[in-house]
Amino acid sequence: MATSDTQSDEMLSSDRGEGGVEEEEIESRVGLSYTLLQIQRDPTALVGLAIITVMTFIAVVAYLDAVVFDYLANYSFFANLGVEQYWFANTVWTHPENDPADVRALLPPAWTENAFGAGTWDHPLGTDHRGRDILVRLFYGTRIAIQVGFISTAIGMVFGTLIGAVAGYYGGWIDDALMRGAETLYAIPFLVLVIAFMAAFGRDLTYAMVGVGITTIPVFSRLIRSRVVSVREEDYIEAARAAGVRDRNIILRHVIPNSFAPVLVQATLQIGVSILIVAGLSFLGYGVQPPKPSWGQMLSNSRGYMLPDPWFSVWPGIAILITVVGFNLLGDGLRDALDPRVNN
């Protein structure tokens, strides 16, 4: 009797316990902390995060070195401290611009040799067609790639999310008009659209970022609209509306935050795509103008020297590949973390 009682008690309590755990799991499957936990458990996502961190760090150092130090050097206080443009590259690394008297163009990497001579450890990855160090130019190119990736994606994400949320929330003719507009932008091949945009307004990096940002608006607006259409039917939206909350606040505070998970995943992946697009634009001569280095432009320069110095064409591509892989790994990890269906 007593034993059966305790047994049943145990069964009950264990039942209750299991139920409790399940509820907790369901509860914790949404929210930032759960996502972060999943990411921590996912080694590939961590590799992606590590790549992005390193690349962003390089980009920040390159930005300080090339832009901020150049600006500060105009003030005598900083100039007396020895702050000058390319201070980092000059002291820690090799020379960003070569000594004109001793230009050694198209040197191979340090461990090989080609028709132009043997590589030296002064230029670990070799030199380009003007004798500039390839490693240093890759270093400064990181800044362009990271900047372009983040800013153009931010433009596309902000406008795309707003447009998609408004279209999905209101429905009707507003939806029709906005989504047809997005479809129109999508229908023109993005590379052609961006190039035409840049031909019209300017060839430099700012317009590349804005142009790529505009072409990615439809990606985000379609994505969030498909979520908003179901979110707007939820009870809490109904409650907010009944309580007299204005539409603008409902969209910004309730609709967008509750539909944002796939947008976050897409944004991470889109940064990689944008880096690829801008590299392609630079390859065609639209983007950062020389002498500022970008990876796509370096590849474009290398085209003329593929036979004598193939290494010149290899390095910038590897830099692009690694960076974009980083964003793709993190994006995949985020998707798995936010979508438990695929995960298990």
Binding site: Y186, A187, P189, V192, L193, F201, L321
Partner: protein, 330 residues
């Protein structure tokens, strides 16, 4: 089905109108004077005025817009300022080249990606899956034009196996192809020219389709009806073929449809790398030459292709979705 088709076609009209408007305004904003392109830097005033009158450039923007729209509706895309030929003729001249490139790269992409994605899903978390996932990840992360450069370095410059430039049409006259005397020679030469551009353009599509095929298959294999089929003792390969594969193809078709525009953009880069005279290089050259009519014409043509592609994608859902056909069969 018919009414759905009609509705989709009607919905495409505002999109086409939007494409024409965007291209028109964008090309109008490109700085430079078309007259100076045609007549050189310092034309006489009468000549310039004559050209302006001939092309209607002396009229205000909205008049030109309406005129252009009327021409486009009638299928007249105007005359290239640089080549002096009708835009449609120029497109027809270059289109086969780009089409050949697109068809061969999509064939390559689908023929490799679909088996790869299915096997990857079937052998989830086994070595085959890992290899195919890494390949797909690399594929979506690599700039296509860089693949082209590496292929040229390896197969043209070092191994001397494949030609680095140009495309030869398989239907070209043997007399016009260097070193070819029979149809077979032409086909071989065309194939040799096509291999590297196909891989260059197709790798991204291949990788993208592999990834979506894998995740779509995994999702379907998790569905209740697949578990039920398994519980009934249906063989794993039958489940894969009959129950899972077909249902998994909807997202794949969407992605392939959308990849089409991306591929047209990628064709610009591939054609630049391999010096192929196709639509992509035509459009870049037109932008660089400020050849407004050609820019507008080619962009509108691309847009139309995309709109048709999207409609075909939507219609193919109805064909592939089993919920439509099951009703008829059982």
């Amino acid at each position: 089905m018919l009414s759905y088709t009609v509705r989709r076609v009607l919905q495409a009209i505002p999109v086409m109108l939007g494409i024409v408007t965007i291209t028109f305004l964008l090309t109008d904003a490109i700085p430079g004077d078309p007259v100076s392109i045609m007549l050189g830097p310092s034309p006489s005033a009468e000549q310039a005025a004559a050209i302006r009158a001939k092309y209607g450039l002396d009229q205000p923007l909205y008049v030109r817009y309406v005129n252009y729209l009327a021409d486009v509706v009638q299928g007249d895309l105007g005359r290239s300022l640089y080549f002096g030929e009708p835009v449609t003729q120029k497109i027809m001249e270059r289109l086969p080249v780009t089409l050949l490139l697109l068809v061969s790269s999509f064939t390559f992409a689908l023929a490799t990606a679909i088996p790869l994605g299915v096997i990857s899903a079937k052998r989830r978390n086994q070595p085959t899956d890992h290899v195919s996932r890494v390949v797909a990840l690399m594929g979506v992360s690599t700039p296509s034009f860089w693949i082209g450069l590496l292929l040229i370095i390896a197969f043209s410059f070092h191994l001397n196996l494949l030609p680095a430039t140009d495309l030869i049409m398989p239907w070209a006259d043997p007399a016009s192809v260097e070193g070819a005397s029979t149809r077979w020679d032409v086909l071989v030469t065309a194939g040799e020219h096509l291999i590297m551009p196909t891989i260059t353009l197709g790798t991204l599509q291949m990788a993208a389709v592999t990834r979506i095929e894998r995740s779509a298959m995994l999702e379907v294999l998790n569905e209740e009806y697949v578990k039920l089929a398994r519980a009934y003792g249906v063989g794993e390969s039958t489940i894969l073929r009959k129950h899972a594969f077909r249902n998994a193809q909807l997202p794949v078709i969407t992605v392939v449809g959308l990849q089409l525009t991306q591929a047209l953009g990628g064709a610009v880069l591939t054609e630049t790398v391999f010096s192929i005279n196709g639509m992509g290089r035509l459009i870049i050259r037109a932008i660089n030459n400020q050849d407004y009519e050609l820019v507008m014409g080619t962009t509108i043509f691309f847009g139309l292709t995309f709109v048709i592609g999207v409609i075909l994608t939507d219609l193919s859902y109805a064909y592939i979705d089993p919920r439509v056909t099951y009703g008829e069969r059982e």
